[in-house]
Each structure stands twice: as C-alpha cells, then as structure tokens.
C-alpha cells in the first residue's frame, strides 16, 4: 500500500565521529510518507545520535540528510522544527515548572501570528492569535488525553503522562513527520497499550513516524518497517517478520552462540 509513496526523509551515507569514537559509521535509509518505521539496535548502537543528526542537534561528520528533498545539513533545530519535522526526547522532557496547558501553549509558538508590537500594544491581532492558540492547545490535549491534567504542574505528573506531554509538544508543531525517542520506556503495559493506540491515531492523521524503542513487542506491533543498527551501521532492514527471523539481528542482540561442528 505504501510501495509508491513519496520519500519524506532520506539519510544518505551519514557518519558521525566524536574524536576517535565512531558513533555512526555509514547510515543510509529512507522513510516514505505515511509509514511507521522503527529504528532499533542494542544500547550504544547510535540510534539517539541518528535522531540528533536528523533534527539538527548534532552535526554529522559527513553525509546528507534530506527532508522532502530539502537538504537539512547545517540547519538549526528550530528551523528544522518549522519545516514540520518534530521530535520527542529520550529522557522525559517537559517545561517542569509550568502547567500542562502552558507547556502545550509554548509548543504552539510557531502558529502564533502576533509580533512584539502587537504584544506591547495589545492589538486585535494579539488577542485573536492568543485565542486561536488556546483553542489549539485544548484540542491537542484532548487528542493525547491529558485534558483532565491541563492545569497541573507538568513536573509533578507521573512519568507516563509526562511522556504524553512530550508528544503533545511535538504535535503542537503541526508536524508532517514525528520522531519518537523511546516513547514507552518506563511505561507499564496498559500505558503502553494506550500509547500504541495514540501512535496509530497520529499516523491516521497523516503524520509519518520514525521511532526508536527497546520494547520489542511494541515495535513489532506498530511498525511497518524496521531498521536495525549495530555499532553505528545498519545491519538489517525489513518488515517485523523478516527482522525477527534475521540471523544477523539475533546475533547482535543475543551474541553468537558457541559454534558446534
């Protein structure tokens, strides 16, 4: 069904070196519109590094990243976000001291239309823009299911719900592609199940998703395609079924058994 869909994100021969350490040696893969792609691999395989390169938080040593055929090399994170490529972070990342609602309102920054003068003079554009943002914030909170928590301080919420705030913030950017960095780590099975439903809902709204995750059942359930990284290079790529039976992947995760003659 997605065979002839257009490529939204393409990563072409990307390498990242930290001094002598090679975090990513040579990575090439692409993501098509409407797909949910899983990026998996053992700890230290370079998954988060890949995310940071794609979203501009880290500069690659060589190679190109393209989003909708636009070269992202050297662009700043906020410029990439404005293109509609949003991300969440591995560690819980919220504006701790603010309420959930204020968090989302902050995330809606780019949708605001008011200039500094509008703010200082309280013009009509300021009030109408703010009203739009408030409506949009409520809509996003309804979408991720955090309405009841809207006026609680973000830092005081349980772990799983802080994760949802992270997703709400990313959705506030109105992304056409979403990068989720270990979204369900630390969640209990029922929270994970709820989250899987949310991911499906996000995809149905037309957002392409790339996710890094350690929870294998979850990855196998939601992803259309999986890319496996080990020691900074791609060792396998394919449907969940293909990946599960790939000997190279099993070796990377479980180690090589004693060879019997």
């Amino acid at each position: 069904m997605i065979a002839q869909a257009e490529t939204v994100l393409s990563i072409d021969q990307v390498a990242v070196h930290f001094g002598g350490l090679i975090a990513i040696s040579d990575m090439t893969f692409s993501v098509c519109a409407g797909e949910i792609i899983g990026l998996i691999g053992p700890n230290g395989a370079g998954k988060t590094t890949a995310f940071n390169v794609i979203t501009g938080f880290l500069k690659q040593t060589s190679g190109d990243v393209r989003y909708r055929s636009k070269l992202l090399n050297g662009m700043k994170p906020y410029e990439i976000a404005k293109l509609g490529l949003a991300r969440t972070f591995q560690r819980t990342s919220v504006f701790q001291e603010r309420t959930v609602f204020q968090n989302v309102l902050t995330g809606l920054h780019c949708r605001g239309r008011s200039k500094l003068w509008d703010t200082l003079l309280q013009t009509g554009r300021e009030t109408s823009s703010e009203r739009e943002l408030v409506d949009a914030a409520h809509e996003i909170l309804r979408f991720v299911g955090l309405e009841q928590r809207a006026y609680e301080q973000a830092g005081t919420l349980p772990y799983g719900e802080q994760r949802l705030i992270g997703v709400a913030l990313a959705l506030a950017v109105k992304p056409s592609m979403l990068l989720l960095d270990e979204p369900v780590s630390g969640m209990n099975p029922s929270e994970t199940a709820r989250f899987v439903k949310l991911v499906g809902k996000i995809r149905d709204s037309g957002v392409t998703i790339l996710l890094v995750e350690h929870d294998m059942p979850m990855v196998m359930e939601v992803c259309d395609r999986i890319v496996v990284l080990n020691y900074g290079r791609i060792i396998a790529e394919g449907t969940p079924a293909e990946i599960q039976s790939n000997p190279e992947v099993i070796r990377a995760y479980l180690g090589q058994g004693k060879k019997r003659a």
Partner: protein, 341 residues
C-alpha cells in the same frame, strides 16, 4: 477583586505626596522607586529567561551618562583635527536617547553572548560592566572621569507654555511612579505573551524549546534589549534627579543590590522585584533612623538577607502565593473531615 487590587495600590502610592510632608522619606521613596524599576528590568532577564546578568548596572549607568551628556552637550577630540560635539538638548530628548543607547548596548551584548549561557553569560556581563566603568573613569574629556558630570539639568518635560517641571520632590516622585507603572505593564504584557512563553521556555529547557521551533537566541536578545532599555530609563531618571553622575555608578555593589532585590522578592514573578526592592530599599534607611551603630546596621541587613534566602528560598512573593493557595484549598479537606464525624 484581585483585578482592582494593583490599581488600588497604585492609587494609594499616588496619594502619598498629598499627606506626606517629610521630604527625606519622599527622597528615599524616589531612590527606592528608581531601584525597583532597575530590579524589574533585571528580573526580565534573570527571572524569565533564566540568565543571570551580573553586569546589569552597566545599562543603568549607560542610561545615566547618556542622558547627562545629551542634556549637557559635549565636545570630544577623537583625532587631532576631528571633533565630535553636541549642543545641549532638552531633557526629555536626552532621556529618550538614554533608552535607545542602553537598548542598543543590550542588543550588542545579547548578540555577542548569543551562544554563552549560565556561568559564561555571567562572566561576559561582569566584564562588560567593568569595561564601561573603566571607560567612564578614564575618558576624561567626555565623562570628566572621577571629577564627575555635575550641574545636570533637572527633569523638565515639554517646553514654553506646556513646560512641566520636576524640580520639586513630589513631582519627581509621581514621575518615577508613572514610569514604574509603565515598565510593569510592558513587562507584564511581554511575559504573558507568545514571546514571554518563549523566554520562559529558554529558562526551563532550552533543547525542548528549540525542538518546538523557538529561536531561543532571538528571544534572549529581545529580552536583553527591553531589559537594558528599561534599566537605561531608570538610570536617566536617577541622573536628572541626583543631578551628578560619576563612574562609581557602575560599581558591582549596585548590581548585587538589584540581584538581592529580585531574588528575595521572588525571581520570575511580576511583583517580586517590587516587594524585594521595597524591602531592601527601605531597610537600610529604617535602620539608620533607629540610630544604631553603622556596623550593626549592616550586620542586621546581612542577617535579614540570609534569613529571607534561607527560609524562603524561592522568594517572598512565591512563598505568599503558596501560602494563599494552601489556605484556599484547606477548607475542603476540613469540610470532608467534618462530614465523616
């Protein structure tokens, strides 16, 4: 009710010259008011963007010197046969220049330190204030150096028939009050807007802010410019009120005083600098009025400061807010307890 409370407070302050005949107390209120304006501007940076500017007095001093020089006029020999001069200008124009020049300096500092945060921003700002002090001290032709600029014209707004003179203390007091209210409104509108949310996002989590498309550096520069402009205005008020300005205006102790006002009052709250500023503006004078030894006065001042920071680490205003919200919530559990019995 809470909507009208601030205006009631302003009205009360406006009425002060009507019933207060002690010019010394009025003088203390004027200087405290000027420092509160400066502390409010510092709070915009320290409290909302989370960047500690320990050279904040530089903007205050630049405003003071600019306003003094423009209203006095000056002539400087930059090269052997190249002079730059300015004829004396009206005071209102000089004060406008003070805001603009301080704002531009803020822009330069904001841009210069666009990638430095935390400790590095502190160092850049301290160094900047020190450089400005040395310039004021040594560029004698422009600033008179340690001899100070004196005979600075008093506050006069308008001209001829519409002249408004601020020679007398009650008038100066009202002008300072009006300026403080205006600055408060500007800062309040700013921090409750899209731009303000971006500034707070920088304080709370910079990476996350960037990930939602906020150009954090831009908003740090905006905050620095507005903050510097307001500090410059405070400096200009100071200069035309005291009517003498020397390089000591750039002393580190003034920055520290502003920081103390902001921290004890509650950084990141709109009322914080006002409460902190009023407390640490009046306490030294009140202690002096009690006619105790100067050493004891400063010990009490220090102990008070330590006590506030120790017992109310987030500041006075957040502590009061916390207490109030606790009291609002407490009747509910009490009622449920009663129903259980």
């Amino acid at each position: 009710m809470s909507r009208f409370l601030p205006w009631l407070f302003v009205a009360l302050l406006t009425s002060v010259p009507l019933w207060l005949n002690d010019f010394y107390v009025l003088h203390v209120m004027i200087t405290t008011g000027i420092f509160i304006i400066a502390a409010m501007s510092l709070n915009l940076l320290l409290g909302f963007t989370g960047q500690l500017s320990l050279g904040h007095v530089a903007f205050f001093g630049i405003g003071a010197y600019t306003s003094a020089l423009v209203s006095l006029g000056f002539e400087v020999h930059l090269l052997p046969d190249f002079t730059v001069g300015l004829a004396p200008k009206p005071v209102w124009f000089a004060m406008l220049c003070a805001i603009v020049v301080a704002g531009l300096t803020g822009y330069a500092i904001g841009k210069l330190s666009f990638r430095v945060r935390g400790a590095y921003f502190v160092i850049v700002s301290i160094s900047f204030a020190e450089v400005v002090r040395l310039v004021a001290l040594n560029w004698v032709e422009l600033t008179q150096g340690p001899m100070a600029l004196n005979n600075i014209p008093a506050l006069v707004l308008g001209a001829d028939a519409f002249e408004l003179s601020f020679l007398r203390k009650p008038a100066v007091y009202l002008l300072v009050l009006a300026t403080a209210v205006a600055c408060y409104v500007i800062i309040a509108r700013l921090v409750n807007s899209r731009a303000g949310r971006a500034m707070i996002a920088l304080r709370e989590n910079e990476s996350l802010a960037m990930s939602v498309g906020i150009d954090v550096t831009h908003y740090l520069v905006v905050a620095t410019v507005v903050s510097a402009g307001i500090a410059g205005m405070a400096g200009a008020l100071y200069t035309h009120y005291i009517r003498i300005v020397d390089p000591d205006i750039f002393l580190f102790i003034y920055t520290v005083t502003m920081v103390i006002m902001v921290i004890t009052g509650g950084k990141g709250t709109l009322a914080g600098p006002i409460v902190g500023g009023a407390l640490f503006g009046f306490v030294p004078e009140a202690l002096r009025a009690m006619a105790i030894e100067p050493e004891v006065q400063w010990i009490i001042y220090g102990v008070l400061m330590v006590a506030v920071v120790y017992f109310l680490p987030r500041g006075i205003v957040p502590a009061i807010e916390h207490y109030m919200s606790g009291r609002k919530r407490s009747p509910a559990p009490a009622a449920s307890e009663a129903s259980q019995k």
